[in-house]
Chain length 501, copies 2
């Protein structure tokens, strides 16, 4: 629960260091299959806006959800502790929506969204946000693409107008595209090709999934980036950037009705357009272990085990939903806090086999989910030993179960996380958006913690027994190679540290 | 050389038993990267047709190639031994041209091409071909799709008119699509899902290639077949079935100039259309062994090794072209004739490790090529032993080379195959079309044999040393499972045996 199923960087962000700490829950929630029908195709007769309020104890600060007449979603969460507001635009489109041959285009388009509109020249968007005293960035993942600005609350209408302009009127030249593509390829080189663990993870996903688009890296295959054309990004934009496929999330010192009025002015006039049918691309049943070695210059080996597991398709009780929750509890028991089972068994003491070890479960998402076990062998230990030790800890739970004390500990953490996450308006907006992408209701965060708290020790033990055989397992091993002493270190990126543009 | 790189069925044909024996060379030639520019986009100012004759000793029976004004290719090869003619339409489109989410659509469309035109109802095409005394079928592969009829030579114009009609005016109802899709899914179940070796091969290709479209089965993933819509097939047809992407091949008791006149009448009026840009989708460099197990109900295990190797991009001499040829000679030395090295070392004598063993090299194709080693363990032997024995035979060539007698033997076979293939007009048309798909010249078959004959023992030995490490290797093992005694045998298909419609 502390980590999602992606031990290494999955999201391809315009900048390396996102300025907000992701809430633990938002991380665990990485997308469920079907968005609510209402968000797919607005009825022609819908009123100017419809509203929903989270079904939690009514309060002035409850999040409120509206649907504009063109199908766009607006979610507003007042948080009046500081005179600031976060404005995020979420588009339910990510690398899962790409087709082969143009992988990476969702992320490329995210970059190009900063390169101008019918009325703004390249760079002007960011200049104006800065002028408003704002900070901004964007992110692309498998399931979604997002853009955000944080500004003084009284400048919200200004950033909304800017964001609505590029959502509806993004435009740039082929030359601008070519320049930005060079930046993106450099991003791929730095973050994947020169990063042995990222390279291994990329290969592991490609081996784990044969048909699901989760097999493809968010940044795209380099061969596809080499061949991508400006029109590919323009087509992708036209296809997916429609009001019914987007949500505006505002958290901060704001009044929901005022924000609704602003949003109707900024976004309400964008014409509705039908969304193309999405192909489900289900993953065929895996029937046998897959093992891949990835050789790359590195200091240490890594071994990573990906088990295919059921995912939640709603908050309701069902055998697979319950198992997905039990697996999430299992991951937390193994690795949910400092000194949890994996730490104690693998990384401590004189006979420790690993320098680090981790577990994570993918609870839901737009594609199939994994339970991951990962470890870095200690000096003198082999990946095989680490794999055996990781699996032994799951087997121990399968055999002996978990204690009530452990369960209580991880559950207390989740309850606490509900409180902690309110510390950051960014984190709140991030979680609200991530839940919307998955078609979840506004109160899904609270209900999900309730569901997790209801999981019993017996359910955790049963899940540990059921899902950790060889047949749905893909193991990747990073096999360290000596670094080429003649290789020049890659020059630092042109922008400031942490600003990987 | 005797086999291509596909030990199990790759092509998805409308019927299981193709009525012609494929010429050995045509099999080895499975597609090179770039078609000749002339075939891509005909110049607006081109004359009604341009002609090329194969640069072999001029004879009345030499193949002649023409390009119609709309960009369509026509190749005519007189063969007057019987009053019959084969008419084949080749379209340079196969599963490599599909995008994720609609895998299998090239093959689905091939089926739908029998389901009517603007003027013919479903089934009428085949009825008319039968009425002409003809036999007919079609085939889809990774690199191409083909349709053919064999008729009495004096009915050639009739089948040409029928084929041109469906090439330009294919049309069918959604209902017809639904019915045929059920047939295609049953084809997938019989030929892949219920065929353990095919299933293993499908999974091996998916593991071998992470970005190349060669990773996808020609028949398509079942999840994609479940979701495919009639419009997907119509769009694919509109996109790829253009004159510049097609060749008509006629072999038989015909006169080239008369066939040209017929073709201009039948096909010449189809309007030229631009071809969409193809994405190259190159395969990233593999850097470490991949091993997959595939469990399926079966009697015997199978182990299959796929090594990534260079492929020919033309008939010219170059290091990678020469290596590709040397690897093809190596495959023939190992497995090119009864009693060749693999047979002697693995499948004979009291200590034999395998019931069968084979080697094959992919010489060229529209996607990346493989050298395959495959074996079925003998009773009491393991896949590991068979893998070791297969690799030991390559290592033996790397260490000790090959004898001039072995080289002479495989080279004599290729020369003989040049003669044998003339036995069948079908085989000749098949080879001509397969070469055209790869952008090869008309005399490529003769020149290729010349090139193969020029390969030395030292080149074969060097190739055996160079390409058989672990880093570009993907090993698949079929792990036999007991058959479910309760499972009912699948009912035989409705059509007669060998007629998998």
């Amino acid at each position: 629960m502390q980590r999602d199923s992606t031990p290494f960087t999955l999201a391809a962000c315009r900048r390396a260091a996102a300025p907000f700490a992701l809430a633990a829950l938002a991380l665990a929630l990485t997308a469920c299959a079907a968005p609510p029908p209402a968000a797919q195709a607005p009825a022609a007769s819908s009123p100017a806006a419809t509203a929903t309020t989270a079904q939690r104890p009514a309060s002035a600060d409850a999040a409120q959800q509206f649907t504009l007449a063109n199908g766009m979603t607006l979610i507003v969460k007042p948080d009046r502790r500081a005179p600031t507001a976060v404005h995020m635009l979420w588009v339910r489109v990510g690398s899962v929506d790409e087709v082969s041959g143009t992988t990476g285009v969702a992320h490329v388009l995210e970059h190009m969204m900063f390169k101008g509109t019918d009325t703004l020249p390249p760079g002007e968007f960011s200049r104006r946000v800065a002028e408003l005293g704002g900070r901004e960035n964007a992110f692309t993942n498998r399931d979604y693409t997002g853009y955000y600005q944080q500004v003084p609350a009284n400048r919200l209408a200004d950033v909304m107008a800017l964001e609505a302009d590029r959502f509806a009127h993004n435009r740039w030249s082929d030359e601008e595209f070519g320049k930005e593509l060079a930046v993106i390829k450099e991003e791929r080189r730095m973050r994947t090709d020169d990063n042995p663990r990222a390279l291994m993870y990329e290969q592991q996903m490609a081996a784990t999934f044969v048909a699901s688009p989760y097999r493809v890296p968010v940044i795209g295959w380099m061969g596809d980036l080499d061949a991508i054309q400006p029109q590919d990004a323009r087509d992708f934009y036209k296809r997916w950037y429609t009001p019914a496929n987007a949500a505006v999330v505002v958290v901060g010192d704001v009044d929901p009705q005022q924000v609704l009025a602003m949003a109707q002015k900024a976004y309400g006039g964008i014409p509705a357009r039908a969304l193309p049918v999405r192909k489900p691309q289900p993953e065929p049943l895996q029937k046998g272990v897959r093992r891949i070695a990835v050789k790359a210059p590195a200091e240490q080996a890594v071994v990573s085990l990906a088990f295919k597991v059921p995912q939640m398709d709603s908050l309701d009780a069902s055998p697979s939903n319950d198992d997905a929750l039990a697996l999430t509890v299992l991951a937390a028991v193994l690795d949910g806090y400092s000194g949890a089972r994996l730490d104690r068994a693998l990384t401590q003491g004189p006979h420790r086999v690993a320098d680090s070890a981790s577990a994570g479960n993918g609870l839901f998402g737009r594609g199939p989910q994994l339970f991951m076990l990962t470890g870095v062998p200690a000096a003198g230990k082999t990946p095989q030993q680490v794999e055996a030790a990781l699996r032994a800890e799951v087997a121990r739970v399968a055999k002996d179960g978990v204690s009530e004390a452990e369960l209580a500990r991880v559950k207390t953490q989740w309850v606490a996380s509900q409180v902690y996450k309110r510390d950051s308006v960014m984190g709140q907006a991030q979680e609200i958006g991530a839940l919307w992408v998955q078609g979840m209701p506004l109160d899904a965060d609270v209900r999900l913690v309730q569901r997790l708290r209801g999981i019993t020790a017996a359910q955790v033990q049963a899940a540990a027994k059921k899902y950790f055989g060889d047949d749905q397992l893909t193991v990747a091993t990073l096999v360290p190679q000596p670094r080429d002493p003649a290789a020049k270190p890659r020059p630092a990126p042109a922008a400031a540290a942490g600003d990987m543009r």
